[in-house]
Amino acid sequence: MEQQALIPHLFRTEFRKIATVLSNLFGIEHVEVAEDIASETFLAALETWTYKGIPENPTAWLYAVAKNKAKNYISRNAVFTNKIARQIKYSLSEGEEIEIDLSDKNIADSQLQMLFAICHPSISTEAQIGLSLRILCGFGIDEIANALLTNKETINKRLYRAKEKLRLENVKIEVPGEAEINMRLETVLTTLYLLFNEGYYSESQDAVLREDLCLEATRLTYLLIENEQTNKPAVNALLSLMCFHSSRFEARKNENGEIILYNDQDESLWNYELISKGVYFLHQASQGDKISKYHLEASIAYWHTIKADTRKKWEKILHLFNQLLQIEYSPIAALNRTYVLAKANGKAAAIIEAEKLNLADNHYYFTLLGELYTDIDNKKAKQNFQKALSLAKTQSDKQTIQKKLTTLDDLMIDE
């Protein structure tokens, strides 16, 4: 790999490892120091490699430099040494060198512990997502702002406040004990779920970045599965869901970045390896006696990997949506249920149900009504699509609705 491509690549893979291991060593109150040292390490690589060429083992080079910088920081910074070094986990005897462990095992352990620290109930979900992207995934502030469709200042402020909060709460960087783990795991799973969704449903123009977000969320979920203590059914269900969704990456957008709806997707673009992984983890998730929303969403996603348009399929999916809505209501689940109801029980039944949904500010609601009325009352269908168009905010949503209007107009001319 050329240097120009190599450094960003290593930044993506190694920054987070250095940052988490050092954060673990220094404690949550010094996450920023860890981040700075990781950043300086890459700066040093940029300067040195430009003149001297790329070292034989670039990763080892980075680790060595990061270790040196960390050691220098500790010995140079008197306040840090006095106040913190004493608390450093590895209590040192006089004259002993500080050990910075960048082995694969310690990196994985540190990431897992850090994941729990970041997904602490004391900070907002938004902040948890931002911090995860920064510290656990090594995203730059620019990238985070781009992915979350906001600006650098907002992200900087959000991250700063979150770190302050974690410091004040004296949050420990550790995997919580057995008594607490289920409750804390729930917050972690929510954050990973939303992190994935940020990537999957993001309006960001940067396709590579969107996919990266999903991959990172999947990687972090897999970390939980690799650890016996956190390898729980709900975690497997969430990973299964991520696999099923990811399997449609290629198929769900065209070259212009426009969404291709499920019905119009080219199945040959689906990733069948990911689908079989999804099936595997869904099977793993079926141990235990509690059904989480991830179980239901993964099962729904599973049925969507079967393209045959049978009534049995839609009845199964309807049943799953019925259960999902009982666990947790969301407008999108309510709308999807109504769409599925039309497939299972017919459009007439679905229209009655749709009219009961109180979602008059939601453009998806009117798009759905438009779909349901198409072929039944095309005038009403048109009114609903027009209403949807007036409420839609993003360009891709408007395009999708516009296409439906055009198709409907053609239909009405033929009548």
């Binding site: 309807l318 019925n322 259960q323 809505l325 009982q326 209501y329 309510a334 249920r337 109801l341 949904l357």
Partner: protein, 116 residues
């Protein structure tokens, strides 16, 4: 928003339905509850099976359920959110239990925070 309990009363709990019929009722009940949940009005619900049921009477006599003397039984309940009893009644009207002649759904407001 208030909460109401919808209690399913079966006129004759001893009637035995075929597995196919039970299957159909189950699906209808799930769709009915799903419809309420899709309106964000569902709180919780439960079926009340006959096995492991007992009736404890005033002199501490325990019998195996009320069946025998009284035919009418309670088959289950759900709790819904509604602005008024009228809205709760509209939900109750869709309950598949009502397909059985003589069955009924009782709508009762839940007293919260000591306020009836």
């Amino acid at each position: 928003m208030k909460e109401f309990m919808l209690i399913f009363r079966h006129e004759d709990g001893n009637k035995v339905a075929s597995p196919d019929q039970i299957q159909i009722w189950m699906k209808q009940t799930m769709d009915w509850i799903g419809s309420i949940a899709a309106q964000n009005k569902f709180v919780l619900g439960n079926g009340l099976p006959f096995d492991e049921s007992r009736v404890v009477r005033s002199n501490n006599v325990v019998t195996n359920g009320p069946f025998g003397e009284i035919k009418e039984t309670i088959g289950g309940y759900i709790i819904v959110k509604a602005d008024s009893v009228e809205e709760a009644v509209e939900f109750a009207k869709g309950c598949p239990v009502l397909q059985g002649e003589g069955n009924s759904v009782e709508v009762r407001k839940i007293a919260k925070d000591g306020k009836a």
